[in-house]
Amino acid sequence: MVVNVPKPAEELIELLSDYSSLFIVACGGCPIGCDSGGEPRINELTELLQKNKKVIGNTMIDFLCNKVLVGSKLRYKVEQLETADAMLVVSCGIGVQATAAMVDLPAVPANDTLSSQGMQGLWPSNERCAGCGTCYLGLTGGICPITSCSKSLLNGMCGGQHDGLCEVEEKRDCGWYLIYKRLKELGKLENLKKIPKLRDYRKQDVSDKERNTTRWALEKAVIYEAPGQTEGEKEE
């Protein structure tokens, strides 16, 4: 499971300060097991944001790490998405990247991803999440600087970039070139000034409490609260 925890509310509000209308895309996989997603989180976020923004709508998709599924499901939401300034994505870093890759709107992460334990969802494509615990995707056009840059730089491309490629490997894309292009397309180059200049490596650590409670939450969801099962049936 990909462990992800809610971003602090103040950070989220700051990240969303440029946007006035939002559409919430939530993952129906790991975040539910981590108590950082699902209907309760959608409702909580809607309530928080409706104070000074418009929340146009929301959708829950089984696994946001499946890009094809994300694309096909969001196709039914085109009208709503067209009126949104940005998407707020409740998922791990993979889901945010997958959603950003499918829709021409800024995708802002509602969660920070900590680590991948055991099964990691479907993950069939090229996006990667390092579980850095400080999701930067809301400022980088949905492209991760930690996993798409061979040096995991935070302050823009290094001198090794050439023709949009990385110095490390022939034909490997320079992550910062992709971020630059994407932000330019979105008209958000000024985001580059807002990215924190230093990493805090403490944030990627998964505390003992998180290790245990997240696993417990998932097991509880799968074993005791399977869909269609009522309280009464459980007791029998």
Binding site: S150, G156, C158, H162, E167, E169, K197, L198
Partner: protein
């Protein structure tokens, strides 16, 4: 006080050189074949830090030797090999040995060099390293802890690639470096005065001195290598053809002449030169004589 800072502040056309430390501790070749030719012609000398990710004697140790010899070192620091604790400690260590100038670089990736299996650190990058230096100058480390004594004479600088594409991103990063504390820039090698002029038109607004990077092209083969493998560097055909046509004996002179013409073109546009002779230090005096520098 940093002699480099002094020279730039006085508005002098400032020339810096560069040496690459050996893979060993014997510095005699370095002094006889590199330092000796440039020592009286440059204000300061860069010492590279595990250049191209190839393990060599540490930059600060060679800088210390330069300082002991009465020369002005520029300590190059990359972020590939050490984390923020080690780098800040090294900066203080260098300071106690009289090193005043630091050039902050991100550094090539480990896979470029002779220890490709090593851990890429990159805890900091060129921008956050400059932030760290600026903090130390003011008496605080990156964690915000106070220093017992301040290395307040450090003169920090950075690099920029005038031929980089996209230029917009290069300028954004240059600005970020200036905000983080860069007080001077040395550029990647450049050969086309037009490209340099276009770059300087954009960079002038920052009002930070720029030393134009000069790597003497030794042969047509080297020019082709740079065109193919060094990002942001373009050697125009007008430079390659004369080198191809020159006889082997005439070639060094032809190279120097071509570079001298380039330097004369760019001199009015910038505040100095950074000469990376890469084994051709013996031709540097001739080159500078031709440019009356």
């Amino acid at each position: 006080m940093s002699k480099l800072k002094e020279s730039l502040e006085q508005g002098k056309f400032t020339i810096t050189g560069e040496i690459g430390p050996p893979k060993g501790y014997d510095l005699s070749h370095c002094w006889e074949k590199e330092v000796s030719y440039v020592r009286d012609r440059v204000v300061a000398i860069n010492v590279t830090d595990n250049q191209s990710s190839v393990m060599r004697i540490s930059s600060w140790a060679v800088c210390t030797k330069l300082a002991q010899d009465g020369l002005e070192p520029i300590l190059q620091i990359t972020c590939r090999d050490r984390n923020r604790l080690a780098i800040q400690g090294d900066i203080l260590g260098a300071y106690v040995h009289g090193i005043r100038n630091i050039l902050a670089l991100t550094g090539d990736h480990n896979t470029a060099g002779d220890h490709p299996e090593s851990m890429p650190v990159f805890d900091l990058d060129s921008v956050s390293l400059l932030m760290a230096i600026s903090g130390l100058i003011k008496g605080k480390d990156l964690a915000g802890e106070e220093l017992e004594s301040m290395p307040d004479e450090i003169f920090p600088g950075a690099i920029v690639t005038p031929g980089a594409d996209p230029m917009e991103m290069q300028l954004i990063k240059m600005e970020r470096k200036i905000e983080a504390g860069a007080k001077f820039f040395q550029t990647q090698a450049i050969y086309d005065p037009k490209i340099f002029e276009n770059f300087m038109k954009e960079a002038e607004k920052f009002k930070v001195p720029v030393l134009c990077g000069v790597v003497i092209i030794k042969s047509a083969g080297m020019a082709n290598y740079m065109n193919n493998f060094v990002p942001g560097v373009v050697v125009p055909d007008e430079m390659i053809t004369p080198l191809k046509e020159a006889s082997k004996e005439d070639r060094p002179h032809k190279s120097v002449e071509l570079m001298a013409n380039f330097i004369k073109d760019v001199k009015p546009m910038c505040q100095g030169l950074h000469i990376m002779a890469m084994g051709w230090e013996r031709y540097v005096p001739e080159l500078l004589d031709m440019c009356e520098l």
